[in-house]
């Protein structure tokens, strides 16, 4: 940081290139959606998108809500058209018109723009050097940030690929906003990866979170389904519930985080994370950090801040869950690591106790609650809580080492194992959700009131006969999540546990290993359903090219990293070394 000019525009722009690119991409996509003409088949318009009303003044909250939830907008001018189309969608389509079965499906091409934007950003991230400070040290672009950014960009790419078919089929003209929201959330995530300022941290958290609330509440509409004349097509309730729960718990957590941040600011007189170490030790400081920890606990889905997870996962669209369940968590961890290593440094030891408590709670609650689940999405939700608990082992090793309670190698090993764990977790977790999407995504929302009964383990039964490729992909991912040797999840778990062991938390490793046995049980139940279960249906499942590519990428990445973990391990180690300055 040069003292003369604390704010160097060029440097800032360079360091913030990735979030900036993503923000621009979102704007471009939104503009493209606005500029494009309305659907050429007016009878097929379906629910109005936000962008489709560009000449109609600002949106009311009701409009916004109904737009998101797929309800016909309440304004009279469009309500008539929409309800006509909803009442008799087939009757309104002229017979000679080869109309697409789903309104707005011709807009699906915009997904490719999003894919291209993400690929460009990813390529830029991989090629551009990662060293720079933005805005006088508020944001740092280092190898650690770059590693996380690559991870979330990959997750975003998989999410867009996974979303496309779902969006075309179910979201009609609302589909473009979907990608805009993914890009906005990614923008927040990439900011968060390098944020070294409490204020930026808070803003980036919200930038990441708010699009996710909206994404989670996207509901399938029932266009094309027969329903009683004179009634409106009702959207599912579950996604609205999912989004609302995510939002409410998230809002409370954000408030808690902000309150903690305000306390810290009051104590240190600076918003820079690095100044935390200068604060005089006081109960207020402890309180402030505890509040911030609680906020991170929500993002990470640690017990007892995890209650939203199963409900949200169950209700939200599956490809959204695939995104929601990985990327924000990695960034929550990154923020935690920032505060611990950059901010608290040698005083991190004071918070080891609460951290270990959170880890044990997450491990036990996640694993135990996952056992009786019949719904695969809920099962994955709880198991995700347990996985986060395992990742906290690496954080604990890092903290103990920073506090001088453990050898200094434990810091590198703890942080690197954490980063590697994230890389291992990302494709496996995404892959399971995408396979589920291939299975149940195309189904219409048959009964708006009980839409959840399709994502059960029973729906996976006999998948191996129906679609051997899908079953194999899911098997690879599930085995990795369970930590079977020579799957990448095994190496990740092993490394995290070795790091914790080195840091002197042998008891924690024993606890983690003991509850992992439960993990073996419920993950293998998924495999058993696919390979030994009796299929009630025999029709093969065809995910389609785009979703199939995404699933194949997940399975190949999981298998490849398991067979040849060395480059990823080296990458994670290098990022950890840079971050810790060793």
């Amino acid at each position: 940081m040069s003292g003369a000019s604390p704010f160097d525009w060029l440097q800032t722009l360079q360091a913030l290139a990735v979030p900036t690119l993503l923000a621009l991409s979102a704007v471009v996509l939104l503009l493209a959606d606005l500029v494009l003409p309305a659907d050429p088949h007016p009878a097929n318009t379906g629910p109005q998108p936000i962008g489709g009303r560009r000449n109609r003044g600002p949106l009311s909250f009701r409009e916004l809500r109904s737009s998101i939830a797929g309800l016909p907008p309440p304004t009279t001018a469009t309500a008539g058209a929409a309800s006509v189309s909803a009442d008799a969608p087939h009757a309104a389509v002229p017979a000679e018109q080869p109309a697409p079965t789903v309104p707005g499906s011709w807009r699906a091409g915009l997904a490719w723009i999003a894919v291209g934007q993400l690929l460009v950003t990813l390529a830029f991230r991989l090629l551009a050097p990662a060293d720079g400070l933005a805005a006088g040290g508020v944001f740092i672009d280092d190898a650690f940030a770059a590693y996380l950014q690559v991870g979330v960009l990959a997750a975003g790419l998989l999410a867009v690929l996974g979303l496309r078919a779902h969006a075309v089929r179910h979201f009609g003209r609302r589909q473009v906003e979907l990608y805009v929201l993914v890009l906005s959330s990614l923008c927040g995530m990439t900011l968060l990866a390098g944020a070294r300022d409490l204020l930026l941290l808070a803003v980036a958290f919200e930038l990441m979170g708010i699009p996710l609330y909206v994404l989670a509440s996207y509901a399938k509409t029932e266009t094309g389904l027969p329903h009683a004349p004179g009634t409106l097509a009702r959207p599912q309730r579950a996604p609205a519930e999912a989004g609302l729960k995510l939002y409410l718990v998230g809002a409370v957590s954000a408030a808690v985080t902000l309150y903690g941040l305000s306390l810290l600011f009051g104590l240190t007189g600076s918003t820079l994370v690095a100044r935390l170490a200068d604060a005089p030790p006081s109960p207020l400081l402890a309180l402030g950090v505890a509040f911030v920890l609680a906020g991170f606990g929500f993002k990470l889905g640690l017990a007892p801040f995890h209650f939203w997870i199963p409900d949200t996962y169950q209700g939200a669209p599956t490809p959204v869950v695939a995104f929601l369940s990985v990327a924000p968590k990695a960034l929550g961890l990154a923020a935690l690591v920032r505060v611990l290593a950059d901010g608290l440094g040698a005083r991190a030891g004071d918070w080891l106790g609460p951290l270990l408590g959170l880890a044990v709670a997450a491990l036990v609650v996640g694993n135990v609650f996952a056992v009786p689940q019949q719904n695969l999405k809920r099962l994955m939700g709880f198991s995700g809580v347990a996985q986060m608990g395992t990742m906290l082992l690496g954080v604990a090793a890092l903290g103990a080492s920073l506090a001088g309670q453990a050898p200094s190698e434990a810091a590198v090993s703890g942080l690197a194992s954490l980063l590697f764990f994230f890389a291992a977790y990302l494709p496996a977790n995404t892959g399971v959700f995408l396979v589920l999407e291939a299975l149940t995504g195309p189904l219409p929302a048959a009964d708006p009131d009980t839409p959840h009964d399709r994502d059960t383990l029973a729906s996976l039964a006999g998948l191996h006969r129906r679609s051997p490729g899908l079953a194999l992909a899911a098997l690879v991912c599930v085995l990795s999540l369970a930590g079977i040797p020579f799957a990448v999840g095994f190496w990740a778990k092993l490394w995290v546990m070795v790091a914790a062991w080195q840091a002197g938390f042998a008891w924690l490793v024993v606890v983690a290993a003991a509850v992992s046995v439960l993990g073996l049980f419920y993950y293998l139940r998924v495999a058993r359903a696919m390979y030994l279960g009796q299929a009630t249906e025999t029709a093969p499942v065809r995910p389609g090219g785009v979703l199939g590519t995404a699933i194949a990428l997940c399975a190949l990445a999981t298998a490849g990293m398991g067979l040849w973990p060395a480059p990823w391990v080296q990458w994670a180690t290098a990022a950890a070394r840079v971050f810790l300055g060793r």
């Binding site: 609302l244 729960k245 409410l248 718990v249 409370v252 957590s253 808690v256 030790p281 109960p283 402890a286 309180l287 950090v289 505890a290 509040f291 920890l293 609680a294 606990g297 929500f298 017990a303 007892p304 801040f305 209650f307 939203w308 199963p310 409900d311 004071d350 918070w351 080891l352 106790g353 609460p354 408590g357 959170l358 135990v368 609650f369 056992v371 009786p372 190698e409 590198v412 090993s413 690197a416 194992s417 190496w491 490394w495 070795v498 439960l518 049980f521 040849w564 973990p565 060395a566 391990v569 080296q570 180690t573 950890a576």
Partner: protein, 611 residues
């Protein structure tokens, strides 16, 4: 480190990599593309072309004119942690691995071409399957050969075991074949425990998995003895040394080309190759080497005796393989590792020739039994002649003298006597097989016998020429491949030749024109009964029934009632506990928020008090 000269204008290591990638590509194509596999002959063509590429690369490496110290290393870190590399993956070429590459690929190629004719009656699908397995075997064996450390070698070693299992059981509909496959698998797996344990001990002691002098130094004498002993257990299993040899004769249930490839020339040699490869470790363990010399020599004599009493031509060859592997192990035990390696390479050529020649005879009479053959030379001049060439090579091959000289130099009189006796017996039983199968009165089948197709004869011809060339040019060829000293023209060589000639003579006397039943000679029957292979087999079966099965049953009981009981109890507890606990997941958002606030308070209290 001297660099390997470039081959085909490329780095030698890349060419070495190509030897593996070609069969790997064939295996993936045949394994993944079912329609291609089901085409039969085109599928075979894919595998053969891959083997051809592989062979060409391997021979280019042999004739690259590299100095003996040259090394080509193309390895990448495979398993790493924050600080160190545990294991590497890649291609490591030096004077040890390159000749073996050539042997494996050439024999593999010959056998694949030969199988075209031998298995042409198979259904197309299983024909393709056969070639897929063959390619897998080549990949595994080459992976083993070019390994730079024990872990990659272990991966190749186990894959070779898998490929062997699949190929022995190729005719899985035959109960005996299925049983033999399982038996071979389990016995070698049992021995592989030694390799696994050796890897663990080596890593714990030295934090390295290679066999470099530095590692051996770090291992210390006691550690080296332990690791060498554990490695040797694995060698005994793979290279069929007494008493772990019992799987090899049964493995002859596989198709004859498979026997030629795996159970004569290449796979069983993997054990001896491990001795050569990890020689620094064995070199530092004289006690283990003494045991090796005795076990090898005893296997040599024992298997030779048993071979004399076999009525199945493939079993004769199987026991003779055991015996020759015993020679190699004994030479390694005596410290003459170059002699062991030379014998490995020579043996690969003429044993493959013998098996493929025997395959032609079997193909002609549709039986393995010597009694069903007889007088075949009149009809099968070419294959019969090739078989005779192989038999002569087996009896008189010069590398045997190197082995004997090495054992003699080391002053190991006991093993030397055993090996000399085995040399005489080898000549005897080969004469017996040749006379019974090719001469004498023609059997009922012999009248319809006809020569094998060209696809079978071409590899036989190639191997016969190689055997003859190896025989004639031994003194000039051997030093190119292996660092052997000049062949010692000592009295040992003369004795060995004398004994071999005596063996030929006795065999001729007994089974020649005035054929007598050897079993009727006084004492022979009793002697044979003593050393019958079945005796060892029976001992294994008894040990299996009384020892292993009883042990397994007790373990099973403990597992079922104690361990499973505890597991079931805890599973029940956690499931019912979870069922109960899930009730706090009410689905009501205000409950969730309550939990958030409660967690926050707990954290705050803990943070304030933990300071």
């Amino acid at each position: 480190m001297v660099a390997f000269p470039p081959v085909f204008g490329m780095s030698a290591a890349v060419v070495g990599l190509a030897t593996i990638v070609a069969p790997l590509a064939a295996f993936l194509l045949l394994g993944l593309l079912r329609p291609l596999r089901a085409t039969g002959t085109p599928a075979a063509a894919v595998a053969i072309v891959a083997a051809l590429v592989s062979t060409a690369c391997a021979f280019a490496l042999v004739f690259a004119g590299a100095p003996r110290e040259a090394v080509a290393d193309l390895t990448v870190p495979w398993l790493v942690s924050a600080g160190q590399t545990w294991a590497t993956l890649g291609v490591y070429l030096d004077a040890t691995s390159v000749p073996m590459l050539a042997v494996v690929t050439l024999v593999g190629l010959c056998v694949q071409v030969y199988s075209l004719g031998y298995l042409h009656d198979e259904p197309k699908e299983s024909f393709g399957r056969y070639y897929a397995f063959h390619s897998l075997f080549l990949v595994a064996m080459l992976l083993l050969v070019v390994a730079k450390d024990l872990l990659q070698l272990f991966v190749g070693w186990e894959l070779v075991g898998l490929a062997s299992y699949l190929l022995i059981g190729f005719w899985w509909q035959k109960p005996s074949a299925a049983r033999a496959a399982v038996k071979a698998f389990w016995l070698t797996k049992l021995a592989d425990i030694g390799l696994g344990a050796a890897i663990v001990v080596l890593y714990v002691q030295t934090h390295a998995l290679d066999w470099s002098p530095a590692t051996v130094q770090a291992l210390g004498p006691a550690g080296a003895t332990l690791v060498a002993a554990l490695l040797f257990v694995a060698v005994m299993g793979k290279s069929a040394q007494f008493p772990l040899h019992v799987w090899l004769p049964d493995a002859m249930e596989g198709p004859t080309p498979v026997s030629a490839l795996l159970h004569a020339a290449t796979m069983v040699a993997a054990g001896v190759y491990l001795l050569v490869r990890a020689w620094p470790i064995f070199d530092a363990a004289p006690d283990v080497r003494l045991a090796m010399a005795w076990i090898g020599a005893f296997t040599g004599l024992f298997a030779s005796v048993v071979a004399c009493a076999q009525t199945d031509i493939k079993k004769v060859l199987a026991y003779s393989t055991c015996a020759q592997l015993g020679y190699m192990v004994a030479a390694a035990g005596a410290g003459a590792i170059d002699a062991a390696y030379a014998h490995l390479i020579g043996h690969a050529a003429f044993k493959a020739l013998l098996f493929l020649g025997a395959g032609c005879l079997i193909h002609a009479v549709h039986s393995n039994e010597l009694a069903d053959m007889g007088g075949l030379l009149r009809r099968l001049k070419f294959s019969g002649g090739a078989f005779i060439v192989g038999a002569l090579a087996l009896g008189l091959y010069p590398s045997k003298e190197l082995v004997l000289a090495g054992v003699g130099h080391a002053g190991l009189q006991g093993p030397l006597v055993l090996l000399l006796a085995a040399a005489g017996l080898t000549a005897f039983y080969m004469t017996r097989s040749v006379l019974l199968a090719l001469f004498g009165p023609a059997s009922a089948h012999a009248d319809h016998a006809h020569e094998a197709p060209a696809s079978m004869l071409a590899p036989v011809l190639l191997l016969a020429l190689l055997s003859v060339a190896g025989f004639a040019l031994f003194d000039s060829v051997a030093p190119v491949l292996v660092a052997v000293r000049e062949r010692p023209h000592s009295w040992l060589g003369h004795i060995a030749h004398g004994l071999a000639l005596a063996g030929f003579a006795v065999g001729f006397a007994l089974y020649g024109p005035r054929r007598r039943d050897a079993l009727a000679l006084p004492g022979v029957r009793a002697g044979l009964a003593f050393v019958r292979a079945a005796a060892v087999d029976r001992a294994f079966q008894a040990a299996y029934r009384m020892g292993l099965l009883a042990f397994s049953r007790s373990v099973a009981w403990v597992d079922r009632y104690l361990i499973d009981g505890v597991m079931n109890l805890s599973a029940f507890a956690s499931q019912s506990g979870a069922e109960r606990a899930r009730r706090i997941q009410t689905g009501k958002t205000y409950d969730y928020l309550t939990a958030v606030v409660a967690g926050l308070l707990l954290l705050a209290v803990a943070s304030v008090y933990a300071r």
